[in-house]
């Protein structure tokens, strides 16, 4: 109590933030949990139905199809968004020209600032089989045009690559910030020991990026099951069965079909799955060990 009084200014500063999360996150979370156990009606009484909503969605094959899609696309995006930014950051760190480095950084970061409505629409145009720039280039080399966004074969790859393209710059900046923070004395010591440029990267830079890599892994893992905007914008009837993710399932049941009870139950299953994935990931990467 004495400590609380001593740090009262800090607690006072925290109060608005705590109130914000209490009102906009925790309260809705609890109410949502209640709804997931109810037979939901927009107006009027809502009887409790136990685990019926959970049973309903768990027996629904569409849930499992979309969960499968989420894991496949999410794993692809995870891998791409982990590897590409490291390569890019290490490459940019080797660039001597400051203006080239800054311009490249800006260019790769820009897509992150745009919403998926813009980015998705742009890629739909660029991948168009007749006027899209990708097919135009392919045709220059004598290849037949490919309908990337309506072909089962390419649908998931397109989602993974476009997501990697959009988010690569943001993650790259995290790595660049970490690289800037590395003590130059370590490189000097390595050089004195006769380390080549590659050896400096391999034995100094990369090991010191591990803690940033862990943060990136955690952020990417937390995002896998929340994927929605991209698929909502870029999916179409021809590829929906290959790319519709689990958040699309909750959207379809909750908003399009007005089945709020099952949709909320599906939402809580996603929370549980995210909890499990996060817990396992933290353990695997030993997140708390720095």
């Amino acid at each position: 109590m004495r400590a609380a009084f001593k740090f009262k200014t800090l607690y006072l500063m925290m109060a608005p933030i705590l109130a914000y999360f209490a009102i906009f996150s925790f309260y809705p979370l609890v109410r949502g949990l209640v709804i997931s156990f109810q037979q939901y009606r927009l107006i009027g009484d809502r009887p409790f139905v136990g685990f019926a909503n959970y049973s309903d969605v768990l027996k629904d094959p569409v849930l499992w199809d979309t969960f499968g899609n989420t894991l496949v696309i999410g794993a692809g995006i995870f891998a791409l968004n982990f590897i590409l930014p490291i390569v890019l950051a290490l490459s940019l760190n080797e660039v001597a020209s400051a203006w080239f480095k800054k311009i490249t950084q800006m260019i790769v970061y820009l897509p992150h600032l745009f919403s998926w409505v813009v980015v998705g629409g742009m890629w739909i145009l660029m991948l168009s089989p007749d006027t899209g720039v990708v097919n135009q280039i392919m045709m220059l080399f004598g290849a037949d045009p490919v309908n990337f966004l309506s072909s089962d074969r390419f649908a998931r790859a397109v989602m993974i690559l476009t997501s990697g393209w959009k988010e690569m710059g943001f993650t790259c900046i995290l790595y660049l910030a970490a690289i800037v923070g590395i003590n130059p004395a370590l490189y000097e010591a390595a050089r004195i020991d006769g380390a080549s440029r590659w050896q400096q990267v391999r034995y100094v830079t990369v090991p010191l990026l591990v803690s940033t890599m862990k943060v990136v892994v955690m952020l990417n893992m937390l995002g896998i099951l929340r994927m929605f905007d991209q698929i909502f914008v870029m999916s179409n009837g021809a590829i929906a069965d290959k790319v519709d993710v689990i958040m699309m399932y909750t959207y379809q049941r909750g908003i399009l079909q007005f089945e709020v009870g099952p949709a909320t139950a599906a939402g809580f299953l996603i929370i549980l799955a995210t909890f499990a994935i996060t817990y396992v990931t933290r353990a695997v990467i030993r997140y708390d060990e720095g």
């Binding site: 809705p28 979370l29 109410r31 009484d45 179409n236 007005f258 939402g267 809580f268 995210t274 708390d288």
Partner: protein, 486 residues
């Protein structure tokens, strides 16, 4: 202690995500209390009183998707115009976008509306939840609404439930979709209006290969669609209705998944393979499809009757000397000579069970179908969208010209009310086709699940990724396995 901290921080992280996910639902839950507080109306579907006397406060709270002013400022004028014409103090909530989500959130959060404008499929969901006031007695007892010249008697069948109850009243005349052809291209290439699938193929091939726009480049397509929206006019050749039908023994079936659909899929595949069907048809939205048609890139689209006039009007405004002529076609008849087009789901006014002014709401619905109501819903607001001179002649203002006679009611049922400025060129002929050949589609609640399967295999068949027969077979197997057909 460390483990406790770990667990706490993990719970915090997951909870934050959960909060975001459950955000929408939380609003919905608020409605539980609100619904419970609605007194005698809560949770029941008690019919509204049919007594003629209306002692309610003359006020209405309305939520609409398309009815109202085009801007927030004009929406205020719209509310004042309702009050001027009816004496009812109306508040019209017309969200700028995402109507369905906002409607759901508003009702579930406990807001009490007297009137809602919703689609028929939404009405069916709301009926299932028991949150709408039955209007059967009021409609049959209404001098205005029971008048067949105001709403034709057989049109009510669209809105009746299985047990004959009426829960909604039309907000406007809802048209249908059909193939729309560039009639000027037909003339230019000396082609006849097509009637069979083979004739359609010939015409569409000519549109693709014979440079109908005369720019010397091979840059046109015969036909474009926005996904499978809407190919009913072609499947009509096999006598097949889109979505679901109820068979004579009461079972639900999807005609597009039957063997009879195979020749139509093969025909569409031929168009796709030969570059006659726009290769972007799977990713097109309706806006892109319209742009292609208006920019001389495609000779035929499948779209709404009202757009025949809008296409013609748009091009006429761009160039008064244009030869552009869009014309509606009835599609392809089946072996018995019957055409089959698609009628759009009607938009309706409904009164929620917790409405505070249900009698005033019904009074407004009746008024909406009179000349004054129709004028407000179409032309708009007096002295803002149009003016009336001393002789009673109407003149559109610049704002009225921009709003093109559409404030939620571009067309209406009431045959005693003439359109003051006539209809746009080609619209009447298109509407005649709708009235003659179009029927509503049957859309069960699980349609979204069925649609995914139908789309997948239909696209596979059209794009040649599977032979049509295999695609249809797999489509049917999956629909059966998922209990989506009987």
């Amino acid at each position: 202690m460390v483990k406790g901290k770990k667990l706490f921080s993990t719970i915090m992280a997951v909870s934050l995500i959960g909060g975001a996910l459950a955000g929408c639902s939380s609003k919905a839950e608020n409605g539980a209390n609100a619904g419970a507080d609605t007194g005698t109306n809560a949770g029941v579907t008690a019919p509204a009183s049919t007594e003629p006397a209306n002692n309610e406060e003359r006020a209405l709270k309305i939520m609409t998707g398309v009815i109202g002013g085009k801007t927030p400022e004009e929406n205020v004028l719209f509310e004042k115009e309702i009050e001027r014409l009816t004496g009812i103090k109306a508040t019209v909530n017309k969200p700028a976008s995402d109507y369905d989500q906002k409607l759901l959130a508003a009702i579930a959060s406990g807001e009490k509306y007297d009137l809602l404008q919703i689609s028929k499929s939404q009405m069916n969901s709301f009926i299932d939840q028991g949150i709408l006031t039955p209007l059967t007695d009021q409609v049959t007892g209404s001098k205005v609404l029971s008048d067949p010249s105001v709403i034709p008697t057989n049109e009510w069948d669209q809105l009746k439930t299985k047990d004959g109850e009426i829960y909604g009243v039309f907000t406007k005349y809802q048209g249908g979709t059909m193939p729309i052809v560039r009639a000027d291209w037909l003339t230019k290439l000396e082609l006849q209006e097509p009637k069979t699938l083979d004739e359609y193929y010939t015409v569409l091939k000519a549109f693709t290969e014979q440079d109908p726009d005369g720019n010397g480049k091979k840059d046109t397509y015969g036909v474009s669609t926005a996904g499978l929206y809407d190919v009913q006019g072609f499947f009509s050749a096999a006598g097949l209705k889109a979505r679901y039908v109820q068979t004579s023994d009461g079972k639900l079936d999807v005609p597009f998944s039957t063997d009879a659909a195979i020749p139509v899929y093969e025909w569409l595949n031929k168009l796709y393979k030969e570059g006659i069907l726009d290769p972007n048809f799977a990713t097109n939205d309706s806006g892109k499809m319209r742009d292609l048609f208006l920019s001389d890139r495609v000779g035929m689209v499948t779209y709404w009757d009202a757009w025949v006039g809008m296409f013609n009007n748009t091009r006429k405004q761009q160039d008064p000397n244009t030869t552009f002529e869009a014309k509606a076609l009835p599609g392809v008849p089946d072996a018995n000579g019957n055409y089959m087009l698609r009628r759009g789901d009607p938009d309706v006014w409904v009164i929620p069970v917790n409405a505070e002014h249900p009698k005033t709401a019904f009074e407004f619905i009746e008024w909406w179908n009179t000349k004054e109501g129709i004028t407000l819903g179409s032309l708009g607001i007096k002295d803002n969208d149009y003016t009336v001179d001393s002789g009673g002649k109407l003149t559109l203002t610049e704002t009225g010209e921009e709003h093109a006679g559409d404030h939620g009611v571009p067309f209406w049922y009431n045959s005693t009310v003439e359109a003051p400025f006539g209809k746009l060129p080609g619209v009447q002929a298109a509407q005649d086709l709708v009235n003659q050949y179009a029927t509503l589609e049957l859309t069960p609640p699980n349609w979204a699940d069925a649609e995914k399967i139908i789309n997948e295999y239909s696209f596979n068949a059209i794009m040649g990724e599977l032979p049509a027969a295999d695609a249809v077979k797999k489509m049917r197997e999956e629909l059966k396995a998922a209990n989506l057909i009987d």
